[in-house]
Symmetry: C2
Subunit: 359 residues, 2 copies
């Protein structure tokens, strides 16, 4: 497989290239170090990525992989860029994946369905001499968490959320980048397929057997602690799901107790009132702060120290009002790290880290 | 494999036949419908099961499988009766399992390590014409929970706990049996290997990939709802782990949100002050009641309606005092269902069910 930095990526997101479905595609476009040369999606063909998801003014959207290969002949990697519910490979994608492999492209796959196990696709990859990377493939780890990450020198910060797909990964990536610009040693810990594709390591913890999910989370933090090893260093763990999500709350709690954060950043999409795809209301920010206090306290206390809002699609006036309301309601610093930069959140972490080192 | 009711079981619990480690063995002896004819454990050889775990006055403990076969020549099933941390097969057990299979015994295995996948043991089982049942083998389910169990006619009750191995399964089994004696339609829902071995169905939910653990829990309740289908029926779900357990809390929360109980029974071992194998203190009963209220409220509110205490090893006076303290602290009915019978708990559920049907 081509290494990070050497890839030229065609994103396959057919039928789902939008902010709701194409989290992986958008994450790789925004934060990846490899160039995305085209997006394949019939429903938006003819536009540019930026027309649909707000970034990628130079990335054309084309109807088929054949069209993408024609306009970007130097492309060398096909990335499956949506994460459909349940993670099953859409049947219509098979022919397009085969076409890409026959053109010599490696495949990066973030679905639950592993292409290396696929009776049709795996032999074709071998025949074409290309590599399939199943980014969600979890290590065969069978270790129950033992609290080994409870007392590290570095400050461990986990992003948590009011729902899926509200900005937990982006928040962690934005803060990590700013802390490093400020000269801090900071390590981003990827816990899902998009973060893994961006950072080049990590474990898709929702793919781990549930008895061992906290253990796998712990292992990731211990790995980061090899680099972020002093009391002035920061480990930023990518959060998953939400404590109030009916399907994924267990993944979230495993990550909270396994990664054993010192502090939390609570992420929320300001315009969202219900859990996505469910009819459940999202609790207030102050109720969410209290809930996280309640579940962390018995194992390792970890206060929410700041609020990260996703104000995508809102007017500037509404976004500012949302930030103001968040602070008024919770008494915590708040911002939208994509719209306004992550300075407020990075400041909160630095202050917390200093206080922790002094105590 | 011999069917439930036709088995004569040798329990292999070598080195671990005690209440701390042999949860599966004790559960099958206490609640199973098949006869346990011997227990294999070198460390307690010469005693009877009742000398070590309080039940099984007619079950001899012998040092080897060979000894068990000699004294119980009609035995037809070997049950691996401990659940070691991480679930790995102790190396010393292999020769004993082979000896049992060569003598024609089926094997029931509750470990994470699947014997049907074992390169040594699986071929020998085939050669001997015996069956291995890996009770923890989870179905290949990839369904995210969708709240389909949120509004069933029957009252769904989940046992939750202050820690692992405090009596969540026993409490559910004791109540289920009493409700059926009272003429109720009640279904016990097994969620772990011992419950599965006792009831003959179920899913070991801690073995499910964490994204789908809540979905698997939901499926189990939906299966039970085929039998317990009216508003006067009860579904009793076996709890797993604890919200305050650093390793297993995610399994617990997946089960809580997936099984979508109407009410909870909180289980606790009165003499225990720390999470077993960890140095974390167990919160007070009232704090645990509040924590369960906090995590259920945003998805589906489910009050704790009674406390089930495990007072094993305590004097009668201390046990009565513990029950009194639990009620004084929480304001809820409390009892030890094994020591005093589950009447108090069954009463609480029947009262809750009546109030729910009337509302």
């Amino acid at each position: 497989m081509r290494q990070r930095g050497e890839r030229q990526i065609i994103v396959l997101a057919d039928g789902g290239f939008d902010l709701l479905e194409a989290k992986t595609a958008v994450g790789v476009i925004r934060y990846g170090i490899d160039r995305v040369v085209a997006v394949v999606d019939q429903t938006h063909a003819g536009k540019h990525a930026s027309d649909v998801v707000g970034i990628g003014t130079d990335i054309p959207i084309v109807p088929t992989v054949g069209d993408a290969l024609a306009i970007a002949p130097t492309s060398n990697t096909l990335l499956l860029g949506t994460a459909p519910r349940g993670g099953i490979l859409p049947a219509s994608w098979r022919a397009q994946i085969v076409q890409a492999m026959r053109a010599g492209l490696d495949v990066i796959n973030g679905l639950h369905a592993f292409l290396n196990d696929d009776d049709e696709l795996a032999p074709i990859a071998a025949e074409c001499g290309v590599t399939i990377w199943d980014a969600r493939r979890a290590p065969d780890s069978h270790r129950v968490a033992d609290t080994r990450a409870h007392a590290l020198p570095a400050t461990v910060v986990l992003t948590v959320g009011s729902d899926c797909n509200v900005g937990k990964m982006s928040t962690a990536l934005e803060i990590d980048a700013m802390l490093r610009r400020r000269g801090r040693t900071s390590v981003f810990v990827p816990t899902g397929q998009t973060g893994i594709m961006i950072a080049g390591w990590g474990v898709s913890i929702d793919e781990v057997i549930s008895d061992f999910t906290a253990g796998a989370s712990e292992d990731l933090v211990m790995e980061a602690a090899k680099t972020a090893s002093t009391s002035s260093d920061i480990i930023l763990v990518e959060g998953q799901g939400s404590l109030v999500h009916p399907g994924y709350s267990g993944v979230t709690l495993s990550l909270i107790h396994g990664s054993a954060p010192d502090a939390l950043i609570l992420c929320h999409q300001s315009s969202r009132t219900q859990i996505r795809r469910y009819t459940l209301p999202i609790p207030s920010l102050s109720d969410l702060v209290a809930l996280h206090r309640a579940v962390t306290a018995p194992v390792k206390a970890a206060p929410v120290i700041a609020i990260s809002l996703n104000t995508f699609g809102m007017s500037e006036e509404d976004a500012q009002a949302a930030v103001g309301r968040a602070t008024a309601e919770t008494g915590l610093p708040a911002t939208d790290p994509v719209r306004y930069g992550p300075g407020v959140l990075a400041d909160a972490i630095e202050a917390f880290s200093r206080a922790r080192a002094a105590s």
